[in-house]
């Protein structure tokens, strides 16, 4: 399928869409005018597709500097009467949380959906926080789709709800829903284009204490009304088998539950919750009041389970509740059909036609992810490490989030402390005040724009001493290569002013600033040594493009190892660990030309000068 189908597909047509692609189709059918994001797995593909289609859809789309800015862009659009969409990974909502709280208080005029893509089991994140807690902190109506079709349908529904009650709506997905592909039947696109107009109303839009108190009162009233809507929503559905045992489930967990129940022909009633907050209390009460047992199946925290227990307490019911709290199901990580099956067997006794299951008999080596061949981060790590060794320093390496976090792996082991995006710089300030160790911290270019600038100001102002290496690979690589403010192009592919990292660093007042090409090993090493000896904040910008975005040069270097000269010291294999270099079965060292990018770092570091290069012409 050509991705433009997401925009041009006609009513009734069926497409095989990724959850994230279905979200984009949702914006097309709902007539969204403004969309904004900061990339993050598992929501990144929404932005990747929008950046291709927004222009033709007559929509404005941007990759904002960070999630807080993204949310603010969409909040302003919605308060001006336009439909807006902001989306982020779960931890992105932490960054946006301050403004998120306020936009829910203030409400909107045009519809606004905030999508949070949670990551149960932590496939590519720093935690598996359950953002349904944010529904409760903020008081925001929340929908939880189970598949791509529902993502699209709930987008349309969400915008109507948002406008009816003048409140933003949170859509909570998980990795397995965002990265699930399924058949999506399309409806008609909404092509009415609108221009926003902001009608001033400080009582609604400026939360000084007197106004904020009123806003909170109105919010609570709205949510009481919306509870009725949730209890009657078409997305909260009962599958009644007239049983005394029931299951309440949402999101991906619903898929596992219904497959297990149907495959094993279990006599169980199901309540599928799609509109999950305000918790549809009346509906849940009706569903459980005559049941003996109810199993709550949800990812990750026992949130609905506690809500169900509250309903039971409130109405004095006798129904027994099973879930995480009684260890019927595991407390953490994502579920699978097998996990749900095990849980159900603790509640209902049934026979299984189980097949013999296998584990591998031969022990298998792991296959961890690694920096690409020719990755500039590898060269920077190698060189900093050598500089530190040559000066015989005891250095700590606060690190940050991006491809370069893979520097945690052997042989580099140069990621010692990490909290969240931007923390490399802030924590370096703290280490500088707390220890006499040398400090070299690493941050990527996209992360620097996202959250690295305020802590750098902090460092200069508070007279800290550390080296900050800004790994400027000219892209947001980890999430698939999105542009950021340091590039001359914006989220819709238009040319845009390029914000200079160098000028920012200078303007902040950093007195030691060097820009290096990390693939020039010896020059870089001398600069790192100087930086390490500088008394103050020293910034080194290591500038070289990521291999994802760098076009292969037609005159790329073709590397070869001279077996006569190579004495098998394995410096290139063990200290550099470029995946293109390998030890053949006969023990000789060789370079796989399929993978090699010709960066020449291995050639520069070979003590025997055994690695040579030819220009490919």
């Amino acid at each position: 399928m050509n991705i433009t189908k997401v925009l041009t597909g006609k009513e009734g047509e069926k497409l095989f869409l990724l959850g994230n692609e279905a979200a984009v189709r949702g914006t097309v059918e709902a007539g969204v005018s403004v969309a904004s994001t900061y990339p993050g797995t598992p929501s990144s593909e929404i932005g990747d597709v929008l950046s291709k289609l927004a222009k033709d859809a007559g929509m404005y789309f941007e990759f904002s500097t960070n999630e807080k800015v993204a949310l603010e862009v969409s909040a302003a659009a919605a308060s001006s009467g336009l439909r807006s969409f902001t989306f982020m990974k779960h931890v992105g909502l932490n960054v946006a949380a301050d403004s998120f709280m306020s936009v829910v208080y203030e409400g909107v005029n045009g519809g606004m959906i905030i999508l949070s893509a949670d990551d149960p089991s932590i496939f590519s994140s720093q935690n598996e926080q359950d953002n349904r807690h944010y529904s409760r902190i903020a008081g925001i109506p929340t929908v939880e789709p189970s598949n791509p079709q529902e993502i699209k349908d709930m987008m349309k529904y969400g915008y109507e709800l948002s406008e009816e009650f003048q409140i933003p709506v949170l859509m909570r997905t998980t990795t397995r829903v965002s990265h699930m592909r399924g058949v999506v039947e399309l409806e008609t696109p909404n092509t009415d284009k609108k221009t926003g107009y902001f009608k001033k109303d400080p009582k609604r839009f400026v939360p000084v204490p007197a106004n904020a108190r009123e806003m909170h009162r109105i919010l609570v009233e709205k949510m009481e009304k919306i509870e009725d809507v949730a209890s009657n929503s078409p997305f909260n559905r009962i599958f009644n088998k007239g049983s005394k045992i029931g299951v309440i489930t949402s999101g991906s967990a619903f898929n596992y539950a219904i497959d297990v129940i149907e495959k094993n022909e279990l006599p169980v009633n199901i309540l599928k919750i799609g509109f999950s907050y305000p918790f549809p209390e009346k509906l849940v009460y009706d569903f459980i009041k005559d049941l003996n047992n109810v199993v709550v199946i949800e990812e990750v925290d026992p949130i609905m389970e506690k809500d169900v227990l509250a309903v039971i307490g409130k109405y004095g019911l006798k129904t027994k509740v099973h879930g995480k709290l009684d260890e019927t199901l595991p407390m953490i990580f994502e579920y699978t059909p097998d996990i749900v099956l095990d849980g159900m067997r603790k509640v209902i006794d049934f026979n299984l036609k189980e097949k013999q299951s296998y584990e591998p008999d031969i022990p298998l080596p792991v296959r961890p992810p690694t920096l690409c061949p020719g990755c500039p981060h590898r060269a920077a790590y190698y060189t900093v490490k050598k500089a530190v060794e040559e000066l015989d320093l005891d250095a700590i390496y606060p690190n940050d989030i991006g491809c370069y976090t893979l520097g945690i792996e052997s042989p580099y082991e140069m990621a010692d402390y990490l909290l969240a995006m931007g923390s490399s710089v802030g924590t370096s300030c703290g280490f500088s005040k707390s220890t006499d160790q040398s400090i070299v911290s690493f941050i990527g270019d996209s992360t620097f724009f996202h959250a690295g600038i305020p802590p750098l100001i902090n460092a200069v102002h508070n007279k800290d001493k550390f080296v900050l290496v800004i790994l400027d690979n000219r892209t947001t690589a980890m999430t698939g290569g999105q542009p950021h403010p340091g590039l001359p192009v914006d989220g819709m592919g238009e040319t845009a002013p390029e914000i200079s990292i160098e000028k920012i660093v200078k303007a902040v007042g950093v007195e030691f600033l060097e820009v290096i090409n990390p693939v020039s090993v010896d020059i870089s090493k001398e600069i790192f040594k100087k930086a390490l000896q500088f008394d103050g904040v020293a910034v080194v910008i290591s500038k070289y493009p990521c291999m994802l975005t760098k076009k292969a040069a037609s005159n790329q270097l073709l590397m070869n190892v001279d077996p006569e000269k190579c004495d098998k010291c394995l410096n290139c294999v063990k200290d550099l660990t470029c995946p293109a270099i390998y030890v053949a079965e006969d023990g000789s060292v060789d370079i796989d030309s399929m993978f090699c990018k010709g960066c020449s770092v291995c050639m520069q570091i070979c003590p025997k000068k055994a690695i040579g290069a030819k220009r490919l012409s």
Partner: protein, 197 residues
């Protein structure tokens, strides 16, 4: 219909997701239900990549253990890593050219011998079709057509629920126009291999 479950695994960069989409769209166009799960993000920097496809009426795209009807392994060791999805009723199509993990020289556990991998697979599943897909792809004209060699092989396995014609149509709709001739050749090499074994 009874679900037909396909587990596809290998290493980042081998074209696994594309292959899975070709199968999924072919199923959809053949009026079958289909759901699929993909892995994106961190795992793609040279790590393990897998997709799961369920054709039929399933709601969840995650295959229960021992419930894959077909395992398509783009890399031999990864076939074994996925063995918990297989049973004595599973067919396996496996590429025999290995990709070493980048840290294998430092690893305490060596890369297993290919014949040992194949023997273990054969002892556990219903049938194993082991082919050197890397060579077949190069013979077809480009190493990157390896995924179509594997797809061709998969389509020829007995019980595969989608017609070859539908798979080919989906392939043409999903790959760049100018790559089609090479990919067609690659596909036929895989198909031939499995049909004649």
């Amino acid at each position: 219909m009874k679900p037909y479950n396909i587990y596809i695994c290998g290493v980042g960069g081998q074209g696994i997701i594309k292959t899975s989409i070709v199968i999924g769209e072919a199923a959809m166009k053949s009026d079958m239900g289909v759901v699929m799960s993909e892995v994106h993000g961190m795992a793609q920097r040279g790590g393990v990549v897998s997709t799961e496809l369920k054709i039929g009426d399933s709601k969840s795209p995650i295959i229960e253990k021992s419930n894959a009807n077909l395992l398509i392994a783009f890399e031999p060791m990864e076939a074994l890593r996925a063995i918990s999805k297989a049973s004595k009723d599973t067919y396996v199509v496996v590429n025999t050219s290995p990709i070493m993990p980048f840290n294998i020289t430092e690893s305490e556990v060596p890369y297993p011998q290919i014949p040992d991998i194949l023997d273990e697979l054969k002892s556990k599943v219903k049938g194993v079709f082991a082919l050197d897909a890397e060579k077949a792809a190069k013979d077809a004209g480009h190493i990157l057509s390896l995924n179509m060699v594997m797809l061709g092989g998969a389509t020829a396995v007995s019980g595969f629920p989608i017609d070859k014609e539908a798979v080919l149509k989906s392939m043409r709709a999903n790959l760049p126009q100018k790559s089609i001739p090479i990919n067609m050749k690659a596909y036929e090499k895989g198909f031939e291999f499995v049909s004649s074994n």
